[in-house]
């Protein structure tokens, strides 16, 4: 069964990236509901309090204050109600050490933030058209 994406949560402390992501997402598919959190703690609080409904997909930045992406990922995978949400790591850093740790902790894929708005739109379109069940480390997004 394909995983249909109707809501997306972006966890990113960078306001510019949030703005760009939001605009690119609406350009890619304006029917998708977009939520944002500013760091790991903020995301977990918003998810647990019900302020944000459980999303179909999470984009998770790696370097964030208060709680970074890797710790947040670990928390997400510990919680019964959250562990099934596919998580895509979303970072400017392509540093392989991080990547490895993310995959070890259950991230579905690791996406390096594109340097170009057009690329970002394209990337998001591609992700939305991909059956996330088929994503593995060996056939990344």
């Amino acid at each position: 069964m394909t995983h249909i994406i109707k809501t997306i949560l972006l966890v990113d402390d960078d306001h510019d990236d949030q703005l760009l992501f939001k605009e690119a997402l609406s350009e890619a598919d304006n029917s998708i509901v977009y939520h944002a959190a500013f760091n790991g703690i903020d995301a977990l609080e918003k998810l647990n309090s019900g302020e944000i409904k459980i999303p179909d997909l999470i984009f998770l930045d790696v370097n964030m204050p208060k709680m970074n992406g890797i710790d947040c990922l670990k928390e997400l995978k510990k919680a019964d109600n959250l562990k099934k949400i596919p998580v895509l790591m979303y970072s400017t850093s392509s540093f392989s050490e991080y990547k490895k740790e993310c995959f070890e902790n259950g991230a579905l894929s690791y996406i390096v933030k594109p340097d170009d708005y057009g690329q970002l739109c394209g990337k998001l379109k591609h992700i939305l058209n991909t059956d996330l069940n088929l994503i593995t480390q060996n056939s990344p997004l």
């Binding site: 510019d16 400017t92 708005y117 057009g118």
Partner: protein, 404 residues
Amino acid sequence: MILIVDDIKANIVALKKILELHGLASDAATSGEDALKKILKNNYSLIIMDVQMPGMDGFEVAETLAGSNRTKDIPVLFLSAINKEKKYISRGYETGGVDYITKPVDPDLLILKVKTFLKLYEQQNELKNIRDLLSKEIEIRKGAQQNLELKVAERTRELLQKNEELELRNHELQQFSWVVSHDLKEPLRKIEIFIKLLKDNHLTDDPKAIDYINRTVNASERMNKLITDLLEYSRLSSNVVPECTDLNLILKEVLLDFDHLTEEKNAIINLETMPRIKGIPSQLRQLFQNLIGNSLKFSKEGIAPEIDITAELVEEKDFESKVSSSGNYCKITVKDNGIGFDEKYLSKVFIIFQSLNDRNAYEGTGIGLAIAKKIIEKHDGLITAKSQVGVGSSFIILLPLSQN
């Protein structure tokens, strides 16, 4: 000077005369006590001593002389008219005499003996002087050696300490440049994204504004490249384990990356079969990317770049080493027909930020060859270049097939 010791004055006079005839100067003492006094005061090279004397006899004088460092080496020649028996002669030798002559004395024989003993004494003295000099010299050398050893030890300690400090600094610097490069990239990425958005979506009909924006885009792209290269350079210091690497595959990938540029410039790239070596694939890829990238970048205007990449095995880690199919090193040459450079700048081209060319004509950050050199050093290899302005450049690298 010879000292004659005899209590009979006539004997002294006679002996003195004989010596004088042969050009030998002499002094005289008339008793054992008198002799000792004179010997303490003056330097004699031979003593001719009567045995039988009132007071201190010849033997006693000789024994006294033997007890003192200053006098023990003066040869003593006993001369006796009375004590001719063996026991006296023995005693004479025992007390340190060099000879024991009994009267009557043949003057010619006496002179021969005297001369022989004088000569021996002289030689002995010379030897002693030489020995003294030598032992002094040895002392001096020992001292110098010890001093040197101390200094070397001290220097070594200092150097080790400096080295440790440097390593620490180097590490800090690498951390620093990594962090700086990384954090610098973040705002730059935003500038690039937003400026491009502005250009693509909001500026369409103001040529001046478009020109300014284009310049901004170019500048930020240049900065981005600079930071990427810096990041790459500082990342080279981290420790990675070498693995068996097929350079054919590496070069294939690199050339694929340059596909677009190669086509655009109509470049011809001739590639020989490469060996497999023990190395760090990502770094070797970077190395060839930089070398081939340079060849494509620094091509002559209007002339299609032609790049020859050749490989051969050589015996030793030396650019002049003999070619050998069983050699342990591979020598790879990347030769182009580009603009070349003056070889007097050879030492400069591998230093970071030393870009030789006008930036407006040739884009470049001045890091590419520094990275190449660092990669080669990490692989315990060598890199050099040959070049001629207007003719082309050859970059020659030497890599060990296996890493220890």
